[in-house]
Amino acid sequence: MTQPYMRVEKLVKKFGPFTALNEVDLEVYPGEVHALLGDNGAGKSTLIKILSGVHQQTKGDIYIEGKKQNFRSPREASAAGIGTVYQDLAINQLMSVTRNFFMGREMTTMFGHMKMDEMNQIAHDEMLKIGIDFSDPTQAVGTMSGGQRQTLAIARAIYFGAKVLILDEPTSALGQKQQMEVLKTIKRVRSRGDIAIIFITHNEIHSKLVADRYTFLALGQVIGSGSKAEIESQDIRRLMAGGAEMKDLEQELANL
């Protein structure tokens, strides 16, 4: 807990005249879930795109284990241990679990011959580690539930060396039961102790269930951050609304 795995300092991102992020700070620790909350357009997506190397920041720095490291490409970010699981999951429906798990990073012997049995075993074991006993890794992903697909994408990211796992709204497109599956998965990954999780969500209840630390974004700026103890639960609601008081909103609505 002494040193954050990743530290972001005064990150600024401008798209022409538009300031998407303004001096954002962020610290993520191994074995912790860091909830990143904020309204639409608050800059969450821009932030994770910079962290995963898709965009480059205008100013500010990213430190990995204390060393300054700025990513010029997604490849560099993933080499530094940043694993991003996007909403679309980058999963192919018609392909089997194993084929998806190793997509683009197949284990091969000579002439590209795949070690299919070994790959099946690893895919099965890695999924089991974070809570899904998928009996048949040769089954097509199309037969899996949304929650299972999330698990597959998360297991894949971890297996290929993610130390910081960025989950982009993993619960947003799922039903209640499956949202719980994903939250359980997050808890299990957290309990490994060596992986830092950035959990992006709209949902205050979900964040309260799993998060250890919070950062709130509004209009490209951090408007509140701290550990679970430091942030009162009513604070969350106020900060989620971009700093506006619920009472004010109620008043505004009543006036209409």
């Binding site: 980058a90 192919n92 299919m116 009996s135 929650g147």
Partner: protein, 370 residues
């Protein structure tokens, strides 16, 4: 709350259920049906010694180009230029053999004519692929352009150099060239020798009737085995499936999507060239109209064999079954004298539609109805 987990909802399948879910199951059933129907309707003549040879000849022709078309379709693209590519490659080889190598390089041998032609067709395949991936245009329209372009080029070249759009009466290179022999000669003679030894395969004089299959049978087998191995067991196969299923997620996982596609356009060009070489060295002729409509037949066979039009799904074995089915029906007119040959197209059209519906059902079953 019960103790059931998500995983319990997916039941373990028996071997039979697994077989039924394979992409080639539909084409297998149709193939068995056609073989049975043709055997009955022709009094077994379709599968006597010569009938088998002739059937295999056309099946192998279909199979060679359909394998290329299917691999490309699995990666999510079409190639409508296959037929014109066959014409172009055949013209190129025959013309070099008749008029000598280009740029005054002297006499052509079957091997040098083939290699130079292959270099040209692979380059064309590379150009087509590069245009498709760079422009982002539909491969349907790009390769339609090349369908016209190549057929026109073939005819123009023939008239300019040869004054006629066909070449016939080339010497029989199979006698002198090992290369012409493995392309256009006979293979698997032992099969017919054995048949003769067992008391069949006898002509009216009482001698051995048929001595071997056309060489393209061997090439088709090699190509199909290769395609099967690549798709089911190699990294490249995984990339081909990934590219056709969803190229964005494939790219996000580090699959070189563009290289896969360009490579497969070159592979269809290779298949077309192989097709043409077998034809030229078998008959010692060439014609500007060769390969006409073959691109559509190749696509039809790939679909009948269980390949999805939208990519990401298909199998090399299915294509084998598809080629057997379509090939047998194409030849049926020779064994059933009372049948009108045009029924072939009626049949292919019907089976094609049925196959598309069947494929869609299989896809839905695999993806859980999405």
């Amino acid at each position: 709350m019960s103790d059931r987990s998500e995983a319990d909802r997916l039941k373990r399948e028996t071997l039979f259920e697994r077989l039924v879910r394979r992409p080639e199951i539909g084409s297998f059933i149709v193939m068995i049906f056609i073989i049975a129907a043709l055997t009955l309707a022709s009094d077994g003549r379709a599968f006597n010694a010569l009938g088998t040879k002739n059937n295999i000849a056309i099946i192998a022709q279909f199979g060679i180009i359909a394998t290329g078309a299917a691999l490309l379709m699995i990666a999510g693209e079409f190639d409508l230029s296959i037929g014109s590519m066959i014409g172009f490659a055949g013209m190129s080889m025959a013309m070099m053999l008749k008029w000598g190598l280009p740029f005054g390089l002297g006499e052509a041998t079957p091997f040098s004519a083939f290699i130079i032609t292959l270099a040209m067709t692979l380059t064309l395949g590379w150009i087509i692929g590069t245009i498709v991936v760079r422009s982002g245009l539909s491969s349907f329209i790009v390769t339609l352009g090349f369908l016209f372009f190549l057929r026109g080029t073939t005819e123009v070249s023939f008239r300019l150099i040869n004054q006629s759009t066909q070449i016939s009466g080339l010497p029989d290179y199979k006698e002198t060239s090992w290369f012409a022999d493995i392309m256009g000669g006979e293979v698997f003679g032992w099969f017919y020798d054995l048949w003769f030894a067992l008391g069949g395969n006898i002509n009216r004089k009482g001698d051995q009737w048929v001595t071997g299959f056309d060489a393209r049978f061997m090439w088709w087998i090699i190509l199909s085995l290769l395609a099967y191995y690549v798709l089911s067991r190699t990294q490249l196969g995984n990339w081909i499936y990934a590219t056709g299923d969803n190229k964005d997620s494939a790219r996000a996982n580090g699959v070189p999507v563009n290289k896969v596609k360009i490579g497969l356009f070159m592979f269809t060009a290779f298949c077309a060239t192989l097709f043409a070489a077998c034809q030229v060295f078998d008959t010692n002729t060439s014609d500007a109209a060769k390969g006409n409509l073959k691109e559509l037949e190749a696509i039809a066979i790939a679909v009948v064999g269980g390949t999805l039009m939208t990519g990401g799904f298909g199998s090399a074995i299915g294509v084998v079954f598809g080629a057997v089915t379509v090939g047998l029906v194409a030849n049926a007119v020779f064994f059933i004298p009372w049948i009108d040959g045009s029924w072939f197209r009626v049949f292919v059209g019907t089976v094609l539609l049925a196959a598309v519906f069947a494929n869609e059902r299989i896809r839905k079953r695999i993806t859980g109805g999405i």
